[in-house]
């Protein structure tokens, strides 16, 4: 399957791209797709804890609605990856 990933703010800067299309096995979870992406250690540290779990401050939006890392993706899905920062 092919899915489109769009990054925001510091995640975008560490990825070096605003958006990219990746290929993965049908049914791979959002977590699985992101874990397979290679954009360097700093990108990985932004997204993942040392345990490998997605950091709780990472917001995933799949096809327009907030979703979970365990969501299984399908061909053509779009995933936006955003990390709100403190302050208000």
């Amino acid at each position: 399957m092919t899915v489109t990933l769009t990054y925001f703010a510091q995640i975008r800067r560490k990825a070096g791209v605003e958006s990219e299309t990746v290929t993965a096995t049908d049914g791979t979870t959002v977590h699985g797709v992101l874990a397979a992406i290679q954009h360097g250690a700093e990108f990985g540290e932004l997204l993942f804890e040392k345990t490998g779990a997605l950091r709780p401050v990472i917001l995933l939006v799949v096809n327009g609605l907030p979703s979970t890392p365990e969501r299984m993706l399908r061909d053509g899905d779009s995933v936006q990856v955003f990390s709100p920062v403190a302050g208000g």
């Binding site: 925001f8 703010a9 510091q10 709780p56 401050v57 990472i58 917001l59 939006v61 327009g64 609605l65 907030p66 936006q80 955003f82 990390s83 709100p84 920062v85 403190a86 302050g87 208000g88």
Partner: protein
């Protein structure tokens, strides 16, 4: 003679003077304004004049205040705003300023939620006063809003917001505002409310600390109905705190996004 009196059309007698009008309509007025200028002496009135009669300390009636406000808005705006309900989660630097801006606009109803009390460190950016220290933010803000516009309906919730109570508290609003301080709470409301009520636009904030460029604060649309105000990156942290000017910019941008959603149904 067609004039406007306190922002409403008024048919004045030919030859009427300013003070005669005052004596006939509002004899207890102690401030008399003609075409924007406070007048100490009498003056003849002419067709098209705008007269404002004020008694110091008197709260205008609901109708009068509405007319005064509506006169300042673009036609059609006031009716939309008056019939709307907006929810604000968090009443700190963002939430308190957003509530005040919307109250000044004549919003119909505000649903306000925050568990916290007013602390001295809040005063550098939050819309509270030194004589309100220790009060619940819901109560303090409500008092301030009533001094600005006593006719806004207020629903207050002095509670800590959780995934379980968010939707029951805010499910009736036309637009939802996220004004939390902590990043995990921002994620919580985005994951909960935006999923449970994807039909309600959510105006969030991220990246507004310090005194960096004001021009990097923008509006980013994420997902179907989420609009994020801020530069998306500048987090509040030790040595780079939240300050009134930049927080105020973000807060008023959020309020403006709310207004555009209410009036135009969109932000682009």
């Amino acid at each position: 003679m067609n004039i406007r009196l306190n922002e409403r059309p008024y048919d004045a007698s030919p030859g009427a003077t300013l003070f005669a009008l005052r004596d006939a309509v509002k004899p207890d007025a102690d401030v008399v304004i003609l075409n924007g200028a406070a007048m100490r002496g009498d003056a003849s009135l002419a067709d098209g004049d705008e007269v404002c009669l004020i008694r110091r300390g008197e709260t205008p009636s609901a109708d009068e205040l509405e007319a005064l406000m509506a006169a300042r808005h673009t036609p059609g705006v006031h009716a939309r705003v008056k019939g709307a309900a907006v929810g604000i989660a968090g009443l700190g630097g963002l939430g308190s300023a957003i509530a005040i801006a919307l109250a000044r606009m004549g919003i119909g109803k505000l649903i306000l939620a925050d568990f916290d009390v007013v602390e001295p460190s809040n005063l550098n950016r939050q819309q509270y006063f030194v004589d309100q220290l220790g009060l619940l933010k819901t109560d303090a803000l409500a008092a301030n809003l009533r001094r600005i516009n006593p006719y806004v309906a207020l629903e207050l919730h002095a509670v800590r917001l959780t995934p379980d109570n968010l939707t029951p508290i805010f499910g009736s609003v036309n637009v939802m505002v996220e004004a939390f301080d902590r990043a995990d709470q921002k994620v919580m409301i985005l994951q909960t409310f935006a999923v449970n009520r994807p039909d309600i636009p959510l105006v969030a904030a991220s990246g507004l600390a310090g005194f960096g460029s004001e021009t990097t604060i923008g509006v980013t649309s994420i997902g179907r109905n989420i609009h994020v105000v801020g530069d998306l990156e500048t987090a509040a942290r030790p040595g780079w705190g939240l300050m009134a000017p930049r927080v105020g910019i973000a807060a008023h941008m959020q309020a403006n996004v709310v207004l555009r959603l209410l009036v135009e149904g969109r932000t682009t």
